[in-house]
């Protein structure tokens, strides 16, 4: 992804600030990457180069780590992060169907971010809430017993939160009144 206006500066500042807190010991590489990702949301190549410089190691070693571990993202996350659990219990009760529903609604595939950077979609392996499978984690909030129709509800909620529901009125009207009620009850 292309960097946006002003992002370059922001990245450099953030990385510098974080790297300062560590001595240049290889053991600190993963913690630094984790902190940078927490700060910027992902690990742009620029940040990886800067980190390599600070730790005095070749950039490829940083890239090697960033691509090895599932936690690290090379692309910016969406404003809303949707994580679908694909652990055993969730798989057995239809996790894939939930993933398919999100992919269809968001028109992206697992691991991608929508082009307006509003949503990103990821899989996780068991968040430890198997008792309420299938589970979806939305912006760190765990939602259990999700069904394909509930996916529509979740999306509606998120999008309404975003633009005071204007853009979605048309769609909401399509639904029958009892469906609207159902959604109300779930909240």
């Amino acid at each position: 992804m292309e960097l946006l206006e002003g992002e370059r500066e922001e990245i450099l500042n953030k990385v510098n600030e974080i790297v300062k807190g560590y001595d240049d010991n290889r053991e600190n590489l993963i913690p630094i990457l984790q902190k940078v990702q927490m700060g910027i949301g992902y690990l742009p190549l620029l940040a990886q180069e800067k980190i390599a410089e600070a730790l005095n190691i070749p950039p490829v070693d940083v890239y090697g780590l960033a691509t090895f571990y599932n936690q690290f993202r090379l692309n910016p996350p969406g404003k809303h992060q949707v994580q679908v659990c694909m652990g055993t219990a969730c798989h057995m009760i239809g996790g894939q169907i939930i993933m398919d529903s999100f992919e269809r609604r968001l028109e992206i595939e697992e691991g991608e971010t929508t082009s307006d950077r509003e949503f990103s979609l990821e899989r996780v392996a068991c968040v430890g809430c198997c008792a309420i499978a299938p589970v979806v984690v939305i912006n760190d909030f765990v939602e259990g017993k999700v069904s394909p129709l509930r996916v529509d509800g979740i999306m509606l909620q998120l999008q309404e939160g975003k633009e005071d529901s204007n853009s979605l009125e048309g769609e909401a009207e399509d639904k029958s009144p009892e469906e609207k009620n159902e959604r109300g009850n779930q909240e």
Binding site: P31, Q34, C126, V127, G128
Partner: protein, 605 residues
């Protein structure tokens, strides 16, 4: 004893997911509004995840009463009635814990651990404090014999005696392999080196297991204490806990626990006045299943790609930063204080000849009571599935249980009598693994399950050795073919040959065990593979490519709900007329199935 009434809310990850924070706030509000003077606190998971949010109320002189599934709207009332009027809500009460008197009308409330079927056959040693203490307050741990074992070890025992005691207890590693812990400690103790490390494996990568998480969240100090004892025994002064990054709450509580233990001098320099220093650090993993493997984990702590290396040398000789390192699992360390508090003989009296003590299992899948159960080794699968987990919901029929996650296998109905211990499970082609138990009914497709686990291990293979990197890919391709109706008659033999080759030639445990789910399902459920291959049918109705959605015109009352629910407009039909699904357009998402009140939509294989 508490002079004030005490209210305890279960706030592990599961409790929070079920709305625990809302419940907590609702109680705060109710206490303030009604001017009730009570202590409100939190605790970790007590195991009955099914019943979250759990709220416990203890009035002085009375037993502690546990309520389950309490919604935030009601909890204020429940608490107020209980504390002010001594009225216990029959709608939510689960059981009572501990001594004390209750009004006669409540005599019949079951005793929590003895009389509730979920707990009757459990023996909570490692989970002894989970659900009882506030994990963020060290004094509550200390009040329940916390750090007594460490004190005893440091002040009265020589390191050799400590190792001997662990050997005598028969404790074996709970992280999967089941290696005798005492021996491992002995090797590390005897290894030459000026510097040694203790490492706790808290990576818990098995997708469907959460035992370690519950211990770390509910009773972090027991793990710290176990590690400090190990440090004293092997002569290490530094330790690392490698914790899965997906467990933010566990990481937070561990760090807090370390800080508090240092303040009390249970960690740090000259611990309890003795000539023994021990310091601990938490390292957050970064999400790679293979980092649960011990040599990969050590690489990861060193800041490298977590790739396993051949053993020997074992970590006990050459581990972290090439120093002798004793590495154990969370639950293994959690058991160590028990060994010293209750004695090795007591510990060894529980379990079977070859497997001593208890094991914590995460029970999930098609069962009535999901949750965490700690049972004595040697209990049968039957007892766990039916007595503890309450059998399958509705009239569901048991088909198999998956033990040990991606490295484990599926055990069929005929083996329900099998005792759960390291050796019996291995003989049956599965393995103890981490302790995930997934119970499956007739609506589970065994080929799909095998494919699921192999997809997982295949994508987590680190790529270092060829059999695992390439072999699992080929196996997965074959399984994909079979589940999409493209299977060929030779596929079964091919899977067996490949599986055996990968098991015997891979570098680390990931590859060596990756074929297990496929090989065990082939061993016990070969007919299901054959139906997919020869008849192009999925008997359980799971493999979507082999199914079509159709509407039974007899049952359809023409309500048009499914027509509206269909995201791709594949369903048509007039009001009050039976509807039809265009099977070409249908994407098999299940939305119509969910909407239909008449159960008119059928999956046909």
């Amino acid at each position: 004893m508490t002079a004030k009434p005490k209210i305890i809310v279960g706030l592990g990850t599961c409790g929070i997911a079920a709305g625990g924070q809302d419940v907590y706030q609702a109680i705060e509000k109710a206490l303030a509004e009604n001017n009730i003077d009570a202590e409100l606190t939190q605790t970790g998971c007590i195991g009955a995840c099914e019943n979250e949010v759990l709220v416990d109320i203890q009035k002085p002189g009375q037993p502690r009463i546990t309520y389950g599934k309490v919604p935030p709207e009601e909890v204020g009332n429940v608490v107020t009635e209980h504390i002010v009027k001594d009225q216990i809500s029959r709608d939510f009460v689960l059981g009572k814990i501990g001594e004390g008197d209750l009004p006669a009308e409540y005599e019949d409330i079951p005793v929590f651990f003895e009389e509730l079927p979920f707990y009757q056959k459990q023996n909570r040693l490692c989970l002894r404090n989970c659900g009882f203490i506030n994990p963020e307050i060290i004094d509550e741990y200390v009040a329940r014999e916390g750090y007594e074992a460490l004190k005893k070890v440091i002040t009265t025992m020589k390191p050799e005696e400590v190792v001997e005691e662990v050997k005598k207890s028969g404790l074996r590693g709970r992280g999967g392999g089941g290696f005798p812990s005492g021996l491992k400690w002995e090797f590390t103790m005897k290894a030459e080196g000026d510097k040694k490390y203790i490492v706790c494996n808290a990576d818990e990568g098995d997708p469907g297991a959460f035992m370690d998480r519950s211990i770390l969240e509910g009773d972090p100090h027991s793990v710290l204490e176990g590690m400090a004892i190990a440090g004293y025994a092997v002569g290490a002064d530094e330790g690392y806990i490698y914790c899965r990054a997906e467990y933010p709450l566990a990481v937070k509580r561990l760090k807090l626990a370390i800080e508090q233990a240092k303040e009390k001098n249970f960690l740090g320099n000259n611990i309890l006045g003795a000539d023994f220093n021990f310091d601990l650090k938490v390292k957050e993993g970064a999400g790679a299943f293979v980092c649960g493997e011990e040599t990969a984990l050590l690489m990861s702590i060193e800041g490298k790609r977590g790739m396993p290396r051949p053993r020997p040398p074992f970590p006990a000789q050459k581990g972290l930063f090439d120093k002798p390192t004793c590495l154990n699992n969370v639950e293994t360390f959690g058991n160590v204080p028990v060994v010293f508090l209750k004695g090795a003989d007591y510990f060894a009296s529980i379990g079977t000849e070859g497997s001593k003590g208890t094991k914590v299992f995460a029970l999930t899948g098609s069962i009535n009571r999901t949750g965490l159960a700690e049972v004595p080794m040697g209990i049968t699968i039957q007892e766990v599935v039916y007595d503890i987990a309450g059998g399958l919901p509705g009239d569901g029929e048991f088909k198999a249980v998956q033990v040990g996650g991606p490295s484990g296998g599926c055990i069929p109905k005929d083996l329900l009598h099998l005792p759960i211990d390291y050796d019996s499970l291995t003989d049956a082609g599965a393995m103890m693994g981490s302790g995930g138990l997934v119970i499956m009914g007739l609506d589970t497709c065994m080929v799909d399950i095998a494919r699921y686990f192999l997809t997982f291990t295949q994508s987590e293979s680190c790529g270092k050795c060829t059999p695992c990197r390439e072999g699992t890919k080929r196996m997965l391709e074959i399984l994909q073919r079979i589940t999409t109706g493209e299977g060929e008659p030779e596929d079964i033999e091919k899977l067996k040959t490949l599986g055996d080759a990968i098991s015997s030639t891979s570098l680390c445990g990931l590859g060596q065990t990756a074929p297990n789910p496929v090989l065990t399902t082939l061993r016990y459920f070969q007919d299901e593979y054959e139906k997919h291959i020869f008849d192009k049918r999925c008997p359980a109705g799971i493999c979507v490519d082999l199914l079509i959605y159709a509407i039974d015109p007899e049952l359809c009352d023409g309500c048009r709900r499914c027509v509206k629910a269909c995201p791709v407009d594949a369903i048509s039909g007039e009001k009050k007329e039976p509807h039809v699904i265009d099977t070409e357009a249908c994407i098999k998402c299940g939305a119509c199935l969910e909407k239909c009140k008449e159960e008119a939509i059928k999956l046909q294989s």
